[in-house]
């Protein structure tokens, strides 16, 4: 971020602090008693999608909204983006009402499916969204080039999106969400429709964004994905907040202890059991751990890709974990 941009942000923060005394710059998202009722044309209640949600998302964290289908995750995201109007309560983003357009300056949004213009090429897509941020030509072009490289679509940047596979569209969707180098990124089912490789890349990207100090809010019903990347989660069920807290503390099983070691012969196992018994504990299991199917798959693909990528235009897969 340039010095001018930092100064601009400081000014805006001051302005917000003056207009809203409760404004805390460390709180990026605030839902106060937020509720949403879907109605039909005549105003009759159809579904109560969200019931009095109170929530805060802090700066720099990866926050997950978890829940089964129809639990109100997407509704919450849409309310935060101003795509829906709340029936009750308030949704504040960067201290501003969610319906205010100016808040979008610092937001990136990846919808559940990448709703992009299929008649545009990847380059044109990013150029279009860059223009919507009033970005100067030079910055726009550089940023688009950088993002296309980042999502590994340089080889297909001049093809219309209608020729893209679902995974490719998802990647360019992510690129458009990042075109403005946002401070807050909202991801609606970010791994939906992606293959294991794409899923892994998406998760890597989320972690990378966190490392850059961005705030990420994602909603998903794929628990493993959320567990992998989120710092805090909120679990919704039928529009109600059921659980809220840090992932590590929520998942911690306090009464059990897991010890992993290697290069220990099986003859030593009985001694270990004895030591545990001596201290009044119970051994629940003692076995060789299994790798995950995801890890196995990625190893195979990585190795195959590493061989095939030599001399090809397609970028090799990047797996940082």
């Amino acid at each position: 971020m340039s010095t001018a941009e930092v100064k601009g942000d400081e000014k805006q923060t001051k302005r917000l602090e003056q207009s809203n005394p409760d404004y805390d710059p460390n709180i990026v998202i605030e839902a106060q008693n937020l509720s949403k009722v879907y109605r039909d044309f005549w105003g009759r209640q159809k579904v109560r999608a969200l019931k009095a949600l109170d929530l805060e998302v802090r700066k720099g964290e990866v926050f997950g909204l978890l829940g089964p289908n129809g639990s109100g995750k997407s509704t919450t995201i849409k309310l935060l983006l101003g795509l829906l109007f709340p029936t009750g309560g308030r949704a504040l983003v960067f201290g501003k009402d969610a319906t205010e357009v100016t808040k979008n300056e610092k937001i990136g949004y990846l919808p559940e499916e990448s709703y992009l213009y299929r008649f545009l090429t990847a380059e044109e897509t990013l150029d279009f969204y860059g223009r919507l941020f009033d970005m100067p030509v030079k910055v726009r072009k550089e940023r688009a080039k950088e993002l296309i490289e980042k999502v590994g679509l340089t080889w297909a940047k001049r093809r219309q999106l209608r020729e893209y596979s679902k995974g490719m569209v998802r990647r360019i969707g992510l690129a458009q969400a990042l075109i403005n180098d946002p401070d807050l990124i909202l991801l609606d089912e970010p791994t939906s429709g992606l293959d294991p490789l794409g899923t892994r890349e998406m998760k890597d990207m989320i972690v990378e964004l966190k490392e850059q100090g961005k705030t990420v809010v994602m909603c998903s019903h794929l628990l493993a994905d959320v567990q992998d990347v989120c710092d805090r989660i909120a679990i919704l069920y039928q529009g109600e907040l059921k659980e809220l807290g840090r992932v590590d503390s929520l998942l911690k099983v306090s009464e059990e202890t897991q010890v992993r070691f290697k290069n220990v012969p099986e003859s030593a196992f009985d001694e270990i059991r004895d030591v545990i018994k001596k201290h009044g504990g119970d051994v629940l299991s003692m076995e060789n751990p299994k790798t995950t199917l995801e890890e196995l798959f990625l190893t195979i693909v990585r190795e195959s890709k590493g061989v095939l990528a030599i001399g090809q235009n397609e970028p090799p897969i990047k797996c940082s974990r």
Binding site: Y109, P111, G173
Partner: protein, 666 residues
């Protein structure tokens, strides 16, 4: 009938029109804003209660101000570029252009060049075709774009950027207008070439030699040509051109004896020139008669009987006349009293006022029509020495009259002294002529007019006087038209009699006519984009088309709904149909009848006011002026552009509030 219906707006001045138009616009904006706020408050109250409803309305209005003023041209252009790409890549433009190209390629086959005015057929074909295609394309692209974005949810990725609703609406209108303007420019250019090339033709003279030898002698007994028409008095030979493009022209070799100091002729038309013993010059000139609104120049190589004729390309089709209309038209009845609107001879009197030619009982009628011209200055005419007066006079006959000739009329110029009691008055001699009865007749009016100068004591001095320097020394002159046939009536309106000031470029006129289509396109696109913010694509199309149809026929619809019409308003008419009552018979006076009539009046008022929401496309349609060969006034273009701008602003505001207050997601 060659008169232009609705040409009366030709008299309108931009500066006169503007204040009234701004007033109506502001009043409309105010009224619609109040209605919008009230309606918004009702909906918000129904959904959230009065307190919250009031807050929502206030918040929406509050947010609209920064939205209007913070609209970014760069973002507008980004949306516009997207709209352009969308139109191109969805092949809408290609299809529209393809249909147009096909129409041009094969349209010529079905146009009969042998009609009275093939130029009008060609111009009407291209202007109507272009207008319909452009408007249709505008409706389609604008109606589908936003609903498709909402349906496909692509709008999610746009509205979650710092894009204001104003930018989405205006950007789309600008984008579709960019594509439409480009297409219209191409279609306009092709149309122009199609008309010019389609009507270009030449003929040969019937006969083997293409010379005087191909012409026939005239039978002195009948003096008829081969078509059985009487040749002109000075014709010495006659002939005919070949039949091309659905017509042929009679040709006459006419004898023209002139003084040596008379004005020179077009040398191309002179076949031979001979000096007579008395010193005068005898010219033999070849004249190609005008047929279907055009004629041909003749190029003559050689002299006398060996001279060979070559007819040039058609000439006279493409006119852009600048008329000078009278500032006022005053009718006087048979007693000499001023009579507003002239004599009423029936329905036709709605268009034209009539004067009578006297009757057997009252032979000395004083009935006349006076056209008062102001700013009658020689500098305003291309050729002030020889003015061109064009008249289209209607005739109402109460007897068959003289079968050998048409109804006679006369014209006379008279000065309008600033102080009639002191100043002398110029009165020209009467010029009596046969009317053409509903057809344009063109008369040459020399600048020098023989007449009388009558002083305040009634003493008259005859002489030749200058139309500008004497008659119109104060810039004002009146043209008096009288009917010279007893028991017949002559009808005219202000637009029927005018001087042809000058001739403008036809290409420029063509361009102006297409500017009118452009203005219509802007209105249609604005309406469709605004409606598409809250309606689905099919409903938007239907809504826009309904508004277009009302716009093209607003006057007709208003007239049709008048309860004063035979049969009454809609309810009364329905009642008469059901009860099989004759529409001329009055209904029995009763409470039910009064109720029925009053309901009709209320209904008609509501429906009539609805027609004003639709744009009056007739004021933006200049194709009739173009096809009739009148120069389209720049004032009218400004008016059309401002009307279009007004609709654009109005519907953009509607689109903004509709988009702003709706939930984009479901």
């Amino acid at each position: 009938m060659t008169n232009i219906d609705g040409l009366n707006d030709q008299f309108m001045n931009f500066s006169q029109w503007l204040p009234g138009a701004i007033g109506i616009f502001l009043a409309l904006v105010l009224a619609l804003s109040l209605i919008g706020v009230f309606f918004g408050f009702l909906v918000a109250t129904y959904r959230h209660g009065p307190g919250e409803g009031f807050y929502i309305v206030a918040q929406t209005i509050g947010q609209s101000i920064p939205d209007f003023f913070g609209t970014s041209p760069r973002r507008v252009m980004a949306i516009a570029r997207l709209a352009v790409k969308e139109s191109i890549r969805r092949r809408v433009v290609m299809v529209t252009f393809g249909v147009f190209a096909l129409a041009l390629l094969f349209g010529g086959w079905f146009m009969n060049s042998g009609t009275d005015h093939p130029d009008r057929v060609y111009v009407n074909f291209v202007s109507f075709g272009t207008q319909m295609l452009i408007l249709l394309m505008g409706v389609l692209v604008a109606s589908f774009s936003l609903p498709d974005d909402i349906k496909n949810k692509t709008i999610y990725t746009v509205v979650t950027k710092p894009v204001r609703a104003t930018e989405i609406v205006i950007g789309r209108v600008v984008g579709f207008m960019l594509i439409g303007t480009t297409l219209l420019a191409i279609m306009g250019l092709l149309s122009y070439l199609f008309v010019i090339r389609g009507l270009a033709h030449t003929h040969q003279v019937v006969g083997e030699t293409q010379s005087v030898l191909s012409l026939n002698d005239i039978d002195p007994a009948t003096r008829l040509n081969q078509l059985g028409r009487r040749v002109s008095a000075s014709a010495v030979k006659e002939g005919m051109t070949t039949f091309d493009d659905g017509h042929r022209h009679p040709i006459e070799l006419i004898e023209d004896i002139r003084d040596p100091d008379s004005l020179p002729f077009n040398p191309e038309n002179v076949v031979s020139k001979e000096v007579l013993p008395d010193g005068r010059i005898r010219y033999l000139r070849l004249i190609v008669e005008e047929v279907s609104g055009h004629t041909h120049n003749v190029k003559i190589d050689g002299q006398g009987d060996d001279a060979r004729f070559t007819l040039s390309n058609s000439k006279g089709y493409f006119k852009a006349r600048v008329p000078m209309y009278a500032q006022d038209l005053i009718f006087y009845d048979s007693t000499g009293a001023e009579k507003e609107g002239g004599i009423n001879i029936g329905k036709e009197a709605q268009v034209r006022g009539y004067i009578d030619g006297g009757s057997y009982a009252n032979r000395n009628t004083l009935s006349n029509a006076q056209f008062v011209f102001e700013n009658f200055d020689a500098a305003r005419f291309d050729n002030a020495e020889d003015l061109v007066l064009e008249l289209t006079l209607g005739v109402f006959r109460s007897t068959k009259g003289d079968i050998q000739r048409r109804v006679l009329a006369s014209m006379q110029f008279e000065s309008i002294p600033d102080n009639p009691e002191i100043d002398s008055k110029f009165v020209s001699d009467k010029i009596i002529f046969e009317t053409e009865e509903y057809r344009v007749q063109i008369r040459s009016i020399p600048r020098k007019q023989s007449g009388q100068l009558i002083d305040r004591d009634g003493n008259a001095k005859t002489g030749t006087f200058d139309l500008f320097d004497d008659f119109a020394a104060n810039g004002k002159v009146k043209l008096i038209i009288r009917c010279e046939d007893q028991n017949q009536f002559l009808g005219m309106s202000r637009s029927d009699v005018y001087f042809r000031q000058s001739e403008r470029s036809y290409g420029w006129n063509f361009f102006k006519a297409f500017v009118g289509i452009w203005a219509q396109m802007l209105i249609v696109v604005s309406i469709a984009v605004a409606l598409s913010t809250f309606l689905s694509a099919p409903v938007t199309i239907v809504g826009t088309v309904v508004l277009i149809v009302i716009g093209f026929n607003s006057q007709f619809i208003r007239n049709m709904m008048e309860p004063e019409n035979s049969g009454g308003g809609p309810i009364e008419s329905f009642y008469r149909i059901v009860t099989q009552k004759n529409m001329e018979i009055d209904l029995e006076a009763s409470v039910a009848t009064t109720l029925l009539e009053q309901t009709d009046i209320l209904l008609v008022k509501m429906l009539t006011s609805l027609t004003y929401i639709a744009p009056d496309f007739s004021s933006l349609n200049f194709s009739q002026l173009l096809s009739l060969g009148y120069s389209i006034r720049v004032d009218n273009i400004f008016v059309a552009l401002l009307i279009a701008l007004g609709f654009f602003v109005g519907f953009s505001v509607l689109g903004y509030f509709s988009l702003k207050t709706r939930e984009i997601a479901k």
